[in-house]
Amino acid sequence: MDVKTHQFDVVVIGAGGAGMMAALYASRGAKTAVISKLYPTRSHTGTAQGGIGAALANLDEDHWEWHAFDTVKGGDYLTDQNAAETLAREAIDAVIELELMGLPFDRNPDGTISQRRFGGHTNNQTKKPVRRACHAADRTGHMILQTLYQNCIKEKVTFFDEYQAIDLITNNGKACGVAAVCIDDGEIHVFHAKAICFATGGWGRLWETTSNAHSLTGDGPALVWRAGLPLQDMEFFQFHPTGLYPVGLLITEAVRGEGGVLINDKGERFMERYAPTIKDLASRDVVARSIYLEVQAGRGIGGKRYVHLDVRPETVNRYLAEAGEDRRVDADYILSKLPDITDFCHTYLGIDPTKSPIPIQPTAHYGMGGIPTDLNAAVLSSGAGTVVPGLYAAGEVACVSVHGANRLGTNSLTDLIVFGRKAGKAMADYARQADFVPLPTNPAGKIIAEIERIRKSSGKTKPYMIRQEMQKVMMDHVSVFREAPGLQKALDTVRELKSRYQDDLAVDDRGMRFNTDLLEAWELGCMLDLAEITTLSAMERKESRGGHSREDYPKRDDVNFLVHTMAYPEKGGIRIAHDRAVDLSLGYQPAERVY
């Protein structure tokens, strides 16, 4: 097969918030290309709803230190405190920069950026919720994605749209290129680069019920893994408490930020029992577990596997009055602050959320773990902090680790902007002083062989069969609650599926042009790798922390597990080590986590 070769100083893989932010900054100092399997505006950043967290203090007293502490506590103390400091400090300037790029935030009467409450964001003195989430209605991610794409057009950033990265090319331990399929004609392209940044987002499609797009198949972490590099904290995958039942799509935490409450079958506002101070605005892991426990105790609505999210004005106003607040809402206000949520409820369930409660269930949402990086987005090859020259990662795919064991709402968007910008600057600097590492001979030979194996596969198992089985077993045993026997079952199943994927795959489309049958099958291989790593990482963490709740080890164990998990590829298998220390430089000592 003919291979086309390109040369750029910097190549960014993925065109969501982190990728485009990195590209904007890198392209100011280096010849930069963005390759993305989707048109940039289709990226999953666009589905983020409620807000981007920054201590602007436009409405309430707030300080970056409070934001940093909330991030550490939200992460159940697995958050690296130097990363939380970077995030919270630079968030303020990052949000201002987005506004100056033209982002149409909602406004306060004085013209400043509007902010609202979100889970786990507090006034550190009173412990009450603080208004920190800067937003544009309930389509903040959409506005960020559009604004960044608009600015990329303005600054003439080079895009390779609908090119799917399928291999990371290294030479002597240095990253030197990326192989990608041009989806349109199936040709393989090699991008020779000095610096490469993964910004491919998450891998929520490992699970049956997810808020994530079909395209979130974890290609980035899988490529890094296959290049012989470790992945960090993969057992920590966030289940967002409020996915629309039964489809799983995201219902933003902003519904609760605006005053919505969770109600069980008995009509109780059950979060009062689990988080007496901030109730429905506790961290996501806490709320997701509470919903599971309510359902397990038979208090799901009609005995089913969901509860209600009630944002009807009469309900909101009743609880506002009970809390002694002056604020009251009406249906028009709810509609103006949550127009997309209203539309989702109408389209998928035929209900009006100002008149009926919304049925919700926890949904697989966000990977806290991923490709380990330092504070400048440089990828690490070991728990000791060794940097891989020329390799970077930012956004959900990266593990800085700023989210620790559980991410706070709004911090994903903050992460994209803050660390995407850092990656872009770092790559421009690196490209200025570094030379091109030569490509190895026949750089795409191995990956072409793998693609051709899939294209010509003639077994009996279609990719969707393997995918559905994987998604079911991950949902049953590697979701909100975990225990050893279930994890073992998941591991056995995933390994059996991997062998069927190797030996018995059936692909219908043998063509070159826009062959999504082939590419979906290839993506499934990425997901199977990550499912195995996630499950094994979860087995080896014998404690409960943040998004990782072990029924057989219900307590947090700071003596043995206040440390990051590193999964290393070794001899065709996986070696789990707990050899990356948690940074405690802000001095926040692990404490019991109550909300």
Partner: protein, 239 residues
């Protein structure tokens, strides 16, 4: 229930001309989305069926297709809204006016080319505030262009427009919507440049106010109104 799918197929690698592929699905629920059913056809029956999709809930704009002759996002159409009897038929084809790449996938380059011509980016009217903070904007000024900020560039409007079908030179409704988003933003200073671009032959005057674009918009943007406001701004020489 049982549903029959009639899907416009064309793979230029093997087909001399397009044809209708027919597929029957059992156990269809009224709440199933058309996207899920297209996936079932692809996954269970014929892996060569090709379509774009990503978020599956109407936000990313990937899966615009013609369902029973009307432009829709496949992920936003539920079976029950199509008034089907058991064994009823759904027809799915690519959106019109853009070249077909394969099956339901069209070439988006001409669409994005038009988008890029209208300066779809912020050109600030004033320098950065000296205090290092955000530019201020009143809630009223912000509300002025709220509707057109919702656009997801799915092309449902542009490919429902007979003027666009008649001439691909026309920038089309989506590009005008995105120009409107900046023309009516009080912070922006490039109104006149955009109005000049849109008063050219390929611009707003190709719009014959047919109104196809407004019902086609899955984000419920009042597209025709936005185009009308741009026409008015050109006549007034400013917003």
């Amino acid at each position: 229930m049982k549903v029959k799918f009639r899907i416009r197929r064309f793979n230029p690698e093997v087909d001399k001309k397009p044809y209708w592929g027919e597929y029957t699905l059992d156990n269809v629920e009224p709440t199933d989305r058309i996207l899920e059913l297209l996936h079932r056809v692809k996954w269970e029956q014929d892996g060569t069926l090709t379509l774009r999709r990503s978020c599956a809930h109407g936000v990313c704009g990937s899966d615009a297709v013609r369902i029973n002759g009307v432009n829709k996002l496949a992920c936003k159409v539920l079976v029950k809204t199509l008034d089907l009897k058991d064994g009823g038929q759904v027809q799915v084809e690519p959106i019109l006016g853009l070249p077909v790449v394969k099956d339901l996938v069209v070439d988006f380059e001409p669409f994005f080319d038009h988008y890029r011509t209208v300066m779809p980016y912020f050109m600030p009217a004033t320098p950065r505030p000296g205090d290092g903070r955000e530019r201020r904007q009143s809630p009223e000024d912000r509300a002025r262009f709220d509707d057109t900020t919702k656009c997801i560039l799915c092309a449902c409007c542009t490919t429902s427009c007979p003027s666009f079908w008649a001439s691909g030179e026309y920038v089309g409704p989506a590009a005008i919507v995105n120009a409107h988003r900046f023309i009516f933003d009080s912070r922006d200073g490039a109104t006149q440049e955009r109005l000049n671009i849109l008063s050219e032959e390929s611009g707003v005057w190709r719009c014959r106010t047919i109104f196809n674009c407004t019902p086609a918009c899955p984000r419920e943007i009042e597209v025709t109104r936005a185009i009308g406001e741009v026409k008015l701004a050109i006549q007034r020489n400013g917003r």
